[in-house]
């Protein structure tokens, strides 16, 4: 599911680029020689051939410090292949297309979408299963494997093929992403207040009830038993929390903190800290 979302987001972005710029006839994004997403009007075969041709240039590009972009200007149009966040975006446009406009559009939109998807799904983008349309290799290999079941598996090509099937199997069985998407834990800033007393637990901070309620609303049934507290100097600790009971401390943007935690964080009353819920 994760990868599908990735490909879906990029594909939609490419389609939108083509809608906005009708002079852009083909668009696709690839990484490590594989197409991750392509526009509606883009055929896979020429796209793959383009990637192969580009790769042959890349192999010779050490002399210029590695390849970042290629622009081919033909009599009837232009092909641009540009590196963006480790992805390569290819755009094919007619001669009429405004090169600056297309470049500006693509160089803003694509990196933004990539960053957004990475933020929502912070898993590795190196996964080969980002491919929009899984190739039918798996069926063939599965059949071969079944046929070869009786044989001893010391055959190297079979091992290689089995290795290539792993990602495609993942693509079809998205067991990892069955869980609903959780939003990024919100970071709230608080001013440190002292918390003392005989019955005060030294490993528990007190936070405003309304903030805790917001967290509960955000994460529903998910348990939030601890928070990460970080100082402006970057010192972090994880501790338990409870709502502030004392009326005079409610709604004032403070976090009541026992001395022990203050010492751990090298902070003191009046200092600013950032608090993030730990969602289980």
């Amino acid at each position: 599911m994760n990868n599908d979302v990735y490909a879906f987001a990029l594909k939609n972005t490419l389609d939108e680029i083509q809608n906005i710029c009708p002079d852009v006839s083909n668009t696709f994004i690839f990484k490590d020689g594989k197409i991750l997403a392509k526009g509606e009007t883009t055929n896979e075969k020429p796209a793959n051939n383009t990637i192969n041709a580009f790769d042959t240039i890349t192999e010779r590009a050490d002399a210029i410090g590695g390849l970042e972009a290629v622009t081919i200007q033909g009599a009837n149009g232009r092909v641009n292949i540009a590196c963006m966040n480790d992805f390569y975006l290819t755009t094919v446009s007619s001669k009429k297309a405004d090169e600056n406009y297309v470049n500006t559009l693509t160089r803003v939109l694509i990196p933004t979408v990539i960053k957004l998807v990475e933020k929502i799904h912070p898993t590795s983008t190196d996964d080969e299963t980002l491919t929009v349309e899984p190739e039918p290799v798996e069926d063939e290999v599965a059949e071969e494997n079944e046929a070869d079941n009786a044989e001893i598996d010391e055959n190297e090509p079979v091992e290689e093929e089995t290795a290539t099937t792993e990602p495609t199997e993942e693509a079809e069985t998205p067991e990892v992403d069955d869980e609903p998407l959780l939003p990024e834990p919100p970071v709230t800033q608080f001013i440190v207040e002292n918390l003392g007393g005989l019955l005060v637990s030294s490993d528990t901070v007190r936070i405003d009830k309304t903030v805790i309620a917001e967290w509960n609303n955000l994460y529903g049934d998910k348990k939030i038993n601890e928070v990460d507290v970080e100082t402006l100097d970057g010192i972090t600790t994880r501790c338990k929390f409870k709502p502030i009971k004392d009326e005079k401390h409610k709604g004032k943007g403070t976090i009541r903190m026992p001395e022990k935690i203050q010492l751990t964080l090298e902070t003191k009353k009046g200092d600013l800290v950032m608090v993030k819920p730990v969602v289980e």
Partner: protein, 133 residues
Amino acid sequence: MVKKKRSIHETATTVIVDDVTSSEEDQAFTDISKNLAEIRKTKGVVGYILRSTTSATIDLKEPEKIVEYAILSSQVLDSSREISDLYDLGDVESILIEGKEVKALCMVIGENKISIFMEKDADHADILERVSP
């Protein structure tokens, strides 16, 4: 019998490889060669390679990279033709390849294949204009 002359002149910054039949001097090649020599003086231009079917002129700031640059420019021209055919771009007018350190402008003018190497911030559009027929 064709008399072949092959000589390598090496100065501090220039390497020239001539492989010319004296009776068949290509006027276009000479003109482009002169033009490139002028462009070479432009700030940010680190060198060029000019090849025709019979001759080649190479002027690079780093002569030790001649082979790498020559192979790269040849590959760029070949691959670009392939890509151009895939999308019916017609004749390839120019190719800009941008590396992390250097960029190169490649062109084909008649039988002459040109690659101009320059620093990343050099004005390739201006150079393209100057070298275009």
